[in-house]
Symmetry: C2
Subunit: 105 residues, 2 copies
């Protein structure tokens, strides 16, 4: 279950991953869940939010760019990125952004 992430006071970083899936599971559900668990164990990980309808949007939050770089280079994650490009996503966009301000209820 995805909730609103409890992030600290800005600044911090958000990786906005938007995607269109291909047909079929192709191992997606299991490996995607593994990646969320693995990400949450990384240094600098602050939280993750995810929802899918026509597009899927996953936003992960990180303390700094170095943490994002290390997570992108994580070997198990690299393998999943490769499978994602080959099997799961017909298109995707990853955006690295710096959260400057936040508010809410």
């Amino acid at each position: 279950m995805s909730l609103i992430a409890k992030t600290p006071k800005p600044p911090y970083y958000a990786v906005i991953f938007t995607s269109h899936r291909t047909e079929g599971d192709n191992g997606y559900e299991e490996l995607a869940e593994r990646m969320v668990n693995l990400a949450s164990q990384q240094t600098g990980f602050l939280g993750i939010e995810s929802a899918r309808e026509e597009v899927g949007i996953t936003v992960s939050y990180w303390a700094d760019l170095e943490s994002i770089k290390k997570w992108k280079a994580n070997l198990e994650h690299q393998e999943a990125q490769k499978i994602g490009r080959e099997k799961w996503y017909s298109s995707f966009k990853t955006r690295i952004s710096k959260v400057e301000r936040d508010y809410g209820i």
Copy 2:
């Protein structure tokens, strides 16, 4: 239908709006659609992506902070924000972030 937004080369801005809905529609669907149409007419609007499961995530993209500020202050949007706080959302978080880098397929 929400697609992957065709945004220009960074830098640009992303407003990440994550929310939990209350029960019932309460005029949400109609007014939310109106807000997407209205947002897309504003100066500096670059695109929008949206999906909802347990949480709803809407990411709108903007050329600069001034455009975001003006959209937040738009009178019809202000009224919708008020209704959102009172009726639609049990909780939400808005994060203003600067997209520094992007890539995809």
